[in-house]
Amino acid sequence: MEFKHFNSKIGGLALKGFFFSIDALIAVGVALSFAALISTATPTTQQFNEYYLFRTAQSTLAVMDADGVLSTISNMTPFQAKPYLDLQLRQTLPPNVDGRIEVDIYNCVDSACDNFTLNNRIFGQQILSTTSSKVSIAQRIFSYPGSTWQTTYFEIATVQTWFDNGGFK
């Protein structure tokens, strides 16, 4: 009798311990689930960096157009335009961002201006001097109507941006 009572007491304790362990495990699981939920819902620094680079590339094109940089190059030779574009790009970009610009200039083929020819492709620095794996790209078209179809032209400008210091930590 004594032995049987002892065994059932031990068995009851073991069962309680088992449930306690399971409960603890579940609690840890639930806590981990919520932690995972929170981490997926919060934007990461990497996402912020990508957004910053993209917005910088977009703004750079808008500023360079407003400053007349993109219309000025149509009157330059590629030899003149490349260093000019690089200089203007460096002056426009924030200090922690580097970039590259490429501008394709299209002219109308005929008076109806319903087809176009690539008249010139002007680009700044050719080699991406970056160790950054993330490069953001913005592209915009610009219309420059002229008094005749011969003086009407369009540009497709592309700016690539990347961090030269690894970005925001």
């Binding site: 069962l15 109308c108 915009r140 078209i141 420059y144 109507p145 008094s147 009407t152």
Partner: protein
């Protein structure tokens, strides 16, 4: 036994939570695609909309509570051809999985060449336009919906003309009939009343420069210059009207009208016309509105739709800056 059932139920609840987290993670990954599509559509939309003013030879600049519209009257380009060329270039350059279309107010597809003024300054409902709302640009017209709206902003006008004033306004002795309000060559009839009867009034500054660099400015009382002591006028009665004689032609006049009863006419009208109402000179204008709000935008009465054909996602809105 109850404990086992309870534990199993709790375990199943845990598994359910785990599944929930996994599915949320999965759905989070798939929502990146619509966001990217929306970003792309919005970029193409704003890119096209930003090019429209330049295509119709107008520049629009916003700076805090100031809005400046730079214009050429008449245009030095063929605006219909310019719009057609731009639409052709859109079709040429936009990726094939995007569709760009222009819609009239009834939401019917129209060619870009059917785009017409006015430039609507919203939400103030002030219209910047030309006669018959077309791009001939023979006159500059500004309409205000009511006097109380116009009373709340000022307008700063800078004009440059490609003709020569009949006399140099900076040297009044070269002009005839100079009095305290002007001269025969720079004559107001009626004159602005400087808001003598009280509001509603329109406050303004005016500067006109000819091709010799001579400038007639209001309000100005510079020594030796033809005076123009006006800076506002009432929004009732007759509009104040300025006529400036042109050296090259006795019938060509620069005419400027402001204020008066805006229920029956424009708030402002500028033109260079001869006796037959034909345009007799070019006017390059910079019109700056200073509002008491920074919340405004400029739109045209045509809608632009950018459609992503793969996802059938689109953005449709008025063409605005």
């Amino acid at each position: 036994m109850k404990g086992v059932v309870f534990t199993l139920l709790t375990f199943m609840l845990f598994l359910f939570l785990f599944e929930l987290v996994a599915s949320l993670n999965h759905s989070g990954a798939s929502t990146i695609l619509p966001q990217e599509i929306n970003k792309r559509i919005t970029n193409v939309f704003s890119n096209i909309a930003e090019n429209i003013p330049k295509t119709v030879q107008v520049e629009i600049t916003k700076n805090q509570n100031n809005l400046t519209i730079s214009d050429s009257l008449p245009p030095t380009i063929n605006i219909q051809s310019s719009l057609q060329a731009f639409q052709n270039f859109i079709n040429f350059s936009i990726p094939q999985d995007l569709n760009v279309s222009f819609l009239n107010p009834a939401m019917q597809t129209v060619p870009l060449t059917s785009l017409n003024p006015p430039f609507q300054i919203q939400p103030l409902n002030v219209n910047y336009t030309y006669p018959s709302n077309n791009w001939g640009k023979t006159q500059q017209l500004i309409y205000c919906p009511n006097a109380s709206t116009c009373n709340n902003f000022s307008i700063h006008l800078n004009y440059t003309i490609n003709q020569t004033f009949q006399c140099n306004p900076q040297n009044a002795s070269s002009c005839t009939g100079v009095n305290s309000y002007g001269s025969n060559e720079f004559s107001w009839s009626p004159q602005p009343d400087n808001c003598a009867g009280g509001p509603p009034c329109i406050n303004f500054t005016l500067s006109i420069t000819d091709n010799q660099g001579h400038t007639y400015a209001c309000s100005s009382n510079a020594a030796g210059a033809v005076p123009c002591p006006f800076n506002s006028t009432s929004l009732s009665g007759n509009a104040a009207t300025l006529q400036i004689g042109i050296l090259q032609s006795s019938v060509c006049k620069f005419k400027f009208t402001i204020g008066g009863n805006i229920a029956n006419g424009p708030l402002l009208q500028t033109r260079m016309l001869d006796n037959n109402n034909n345009t007799c000179g070019e006017v390059f204008s910079n019109t700056t509105f200073t509002f008491n709000t920074t919340t405004f935008y400029v739109s045209l009465p045509t809608y632009l739709r950018v459609l992503d054909l793969n996802s059938n996602t689109s953005k449709t809105d008025s063409i605005f800056q």
